[in-house]
């Protein structure tokens, strides 16, 4: 009974969404059957979103609840702005209840991003898009808060939780509202010049040079530490780059690939470059410092790193400061490393080092792999030896898989050996797909013993076979043949995956299968989607908004996944339903309802509705007319 009354409330609120919309004047236009069906589907989509937003109160996963409320508000704002504003406010207030997720140990040396900052940016983005006064209200709450001291900071963390939030939002706003981005970034300076300040400044310059110059000048006026200087130096001299010293005293680098090829700002702003170099010299290179504690030493290493980065710039923009800066650098170096030895003499037998200067790229590659293999051969610690062989095998080029396998076969551990061989073949096959050498990839696929890797390769091959042909001379018969080959491959995948244990990677692979199947056999695709939902129900959690490729690297090699060619197939829920939503909306919605975890089901409903609205945007506009 309770359930029934709850449903009634949801229905009433869904209906009221329409009731509150200003009623259009009755028109004599008679809707076609197709239009009537579309409106009925729209009603269902609105109901799905409303129902989900109302249910978030009962969700244990508060992070998912905040995201769902923000998404729901954005999707239905035009239908009912009042209700949507309430959802958005509810989302904003709920952020305080989101627990911080554990740190990613692999990345914590570089970044320790907070979930709360990301969620605040998500809610604020919708607020700025839909209701600026509401967004300003949220921002005021944010800036009135304490800065929020960050503990155990990564080298590239922002100065405070507050500056992380303000700059995250500025980054999102810069494209559509540069003035807002300026204002938010300026406010972040209250806690110092943060790492994210550089990308904001660079993006702002692309939109409005004057605003970027004003922001730069404001930052320069409060410059005080080497890490702050690194941020501004990157902006002026090498866009997208930021250097720091890690806990072991080594140099680490963060690169923003979207900004790394821009021309240096200093060329266009030589006076600003000069002001910056003078400020750094005055505030940092004229001071005495001690090296008594590890912290002192870290600071000095950061200073040395900075001096090394910008020394040649003094020659161009502030030549009178070059000699004293050089003297400072030398003194600091001697103080920090009094007994520095030449490390290059450590490895006495190096084929790479013995190469002539005019050696070709291929010769260098050969020598490098030979060196790595030799190092593994000479290692006496049995575990280090295995790791060294893995490193050498993975250092081979993806297409040079035979050499990689040859090295891997020296690993004296059958399970590890098979894992590495399977990975090297998987990586090679995907590379061949990328290079359109489909036959070679197809030949390699059956040799991959690990099921998920083999399946991903088969999906990629099937996808490549189904791609529209540029060559118009290809006969229809051949196209049909390739379709059949793709179908057979996907059938293999479905059969193989039936026996696999539920895992995130399995679910992603199933979504990938569905996405490709949906291009030519919708019935099979719906079956596959249903199979995927069954798998989701067997696992603890899954984020239906995630569409990245499955992580099928070698467990004990952190970087192995990064050496795999990126696939254009999406492996997320959205990719799976993209080609089904217009033709089979009801079926997709019905399959989503079979997800047992309420949070995952809710996200599924919202994503289904979002895609439905997106795909039918033009049709709704036509009906509106």
């Amino acid at each position: 009974m309770k359930k029934l009354s709850f449903l009634a409330i949801i229905l009433v609120s869904a209906i009221s969404v329409f009731a509150q919309k200003p009623a259009p004047k009755p028109t004599p236009k008679v809707l076609t059957e197709k239009e009537q069906k579309l409106l009925s589907q729209k009603f269902q989509a609105v109901l799905m979103v409303t129902k989900t937003a109302e249910e978030t109160t009962f969700w244990e996963d508060k992070k998912a609840a905040v995201e769902a409320l923000a998404d729901a508000a954005d999707l239905l704002w035009e239908e009912n702005a009042n209700q949507s504003a309430k959802w958005l406010t509810k989302a904003w207030n709920l952020i305080d209840e989101v627990p911080e997720s554990p740190k990613d140990e692999k990345m914590s040396e570089f970044f320790t991003r907070s979930d709360k900052s990301g969620l605040q940016a998500t809610v604020l983005k919708v607020a700025y898009k839909r209701d600026t006064p509401l967004a300003e209200k949220f921002i005021k709450q944010l800036t009135d808060k304490e800065p929020g001291e960050k503990k155990d900071k990564g080298a590239f963390d922002d100065k405070s939780a507050r500056s992380e939030q303000l700059l995250g939002l500025a980054m999102q706003a810069v494209e559509t509202n540069p003035n807002l981005a300026f204002s938010l970034a300026q406010r972040s300076l209250a806690d110092g010049i943060s790492f994210t300040f550089q990308p904001v400044l660079t993006s702002l310059r692309q939109k409005d040079v004057n605003l970027a110059n004003r922001l730069f000048d404001l930052a320069l006026a409060r410059l005080s530490t080497p890490d702050e200087a690194q941020t501004l130096a990157g902006y002026l001299f090498r866009s997208g780059f930021n250097f720091a010293i890690n806990s072991s005293g080594g140099m680490i680098l963060a690169v923003n690939p979207n900004q790394q090829d821009l021309p240096p700002v200093a060329q266009a702003e030589p006076n600003r470059a000069r002001n910056f170099l003078s400020a750094v010299y005055q505030t940092m290179f004229t001071r005495q410092f001690s090296l008594d504690t590890p912290e002192d030493k870290r600071k000095a290493e950061n200073l040395l790193l900075l001096a090394g980065q910008i020394l040649d710039k003094y020659n161009i923009y502030a030549p009178e400061l070059l000699p004293p800066t050089k003297a400072f650098l030398l003194q600091l170096q001697t103080q920090l490393y009094p007994n520095r030895q030449n490390k290059s003499s450590e490895n006495s037998n190096s084929k790479l080092r013995d190469l002539p200067k005019d050696a070709t790229k291929e010769q260098r590659y050969d020598a490098m792999i030979a060196d790595l293999e030799d190092r593994a051969n000479n290692e006496t610690d049995p575990i280090a030896k295995k790791l060294a062989y893995i490193h050498a095998a993975l250092s081979t080029n993806a297409e040079d898989y035979k050499r990689g396998i040859g090295i891997a076969k020296k690993i004296e551990d059958e399970d590890l050996l098979q894992d590495v061989v399977s990975f090297v073949l998987y990586r090679a096959a995907l590379k061949f797909v990328e290079k359109k050498e489909i036959e070679t990839a197809e030949e390699l696929a059956p040799q991959i013993k690990e099921t998920l890797r083999r399946s991903v390769v088969k999906i990629a091959v099937a996808q490549a076979l189904l791609e529209p042909k540029k060559d118009k001379n290809i006969e229809q018969a051949q196209i049909e043949l390739e379709k059949q080959r793709a179908f057979a491959l996907l059938n293999d995948v479905q059969r193989d995956l039936q026996n696999e244990d539920a895992s995130l990677n399995l679910i992603k692979t199933l979504f990938g299968t569905t996405a490709v199947l949906a291009k030519f056999d919708k019935t099979q695709a719906l079956n596959s989607l249903e199979q995927t939902v069954q798998m989701i129900n067997k696992s603890d959690k899954f984020n239906l908004k995630e569409s990245s490729a499955p992580k099928l690297g070698i467990d004990i090699s952190k970087t192995s996944s990064a050496t795999v060619a990126t696939q254009r197939i999406g492996f997320g829920f959205n990719n799976a339903i993209e080609n089904l939503i217009e033709t089979d909306f009801e079926q997709v919605a019905s399959i989503v309802e079979r997800v047992s975890a309420k949070e995952i089901r809710g996200v599924g409903r919202i994503e289904t509705a979002r895609l439905f609205f997106q795909k039918n945007k033009d049709l709704f506009a036509q009906i509106g007319k």
Partner: protein, 225 residues
């Protein structure tokens, strides 16, 4: 009476002296080996035939000054850095299969210590006693404390454990590097240490060094894979 008193004093003195000699010999004898017990507490695929663990280790000895220098050079966080800290004592490796049998989830490494290492450890113990006596008399100076600190010996275990869990179908590397201040464990006969580790569902691992009772809380680190 005087004669009796003198005789008793001599006897007592001799007895005490003998006792001290015996203690010192016992102590030296006990220091001939370092014993390190390592236990794999649990892993998801413990009952599966293909699950196994392999350990490769190197034991070294380093005094506090060497550790301090390494720390100020930022090398202490990276125990895999080359050159390794201190002086070499021993190295070895083994693999254990059939992990459903509890005996195969634990091992005791008995590592012989050479004369020089034994003397370093005995020196450490004597320096500790001397420092404790000075402290009791309130005569410890900053210099004597610094001197004592620099003489403190640490056994440094460089090790990696490679686990294959047949249930997770995963190879997992557990870095198993420990710095073991010798005198913290000196109430035990000889150089004895005990560590544990376990693999959790999902492939995370936890590792601990079991500290003596007086230090109670063991140090546990949980690493997410």
């Amino acid at each position: 009476m005087k004669k009796f008193c003198l005789g008793l004093f001599l006897i007592l003195f001799l007895a005490l002296n003998n006792f001290a000699q015996v203690k010192k010999e016992e102590s030296n004898a006990a220091l001939e080996n370092a014993k390190i017990k390592i236990t794999l507490l649990d892993l998801p695929g413990v009952n599966l035939e293909k699950s196994k663990w392999e350990l490769a280790y190197e034991l070294r000895i380093a005094n506090e000054k060497q550790l301090f220098d390494a720390m100020t050079n930022g090398k202490i966080e990276d125990l895999n850095a080359i050159p390794k800290l201190g002086e070499f004592i021993n190295k070895g490796s083994f693999t254990k299969n059939n992990l459903s049998n509890k005996e195969n989830r634990e091992t005791v490494l008995t590592i012989p210590l050479d004369k020089k290492t034994q003397e370093m450890l005995v020196g450490d113990l004597e320096s500790l006693t001397k420092s404790a006596n000075l402290a009791a008399q309130n005569k410890n100076t900053r210099e004597s404390l610094t001197e004592r600190q620099m003489k403190t010996q640490n056994l440094v275990l460089y090790a990696n454990i490679l686990v294959y869990d047949a249930k997770l179908k995963k190879n997992i590397i557990v870095p198993f590097n420990w710095i073991l201040p010798f005198t913290r464990f000196s109430h035990l006969p000889g150089a004895n240490f005990e560590m544990t580790f376990e693999i959790k569902e999902g492939g995370d691992f936890a590792k601990s060094v079991v500290l003596p009772e007086k230090l109670k809380n063991s140090k546990t680190t949980i690493i997410k894979q």
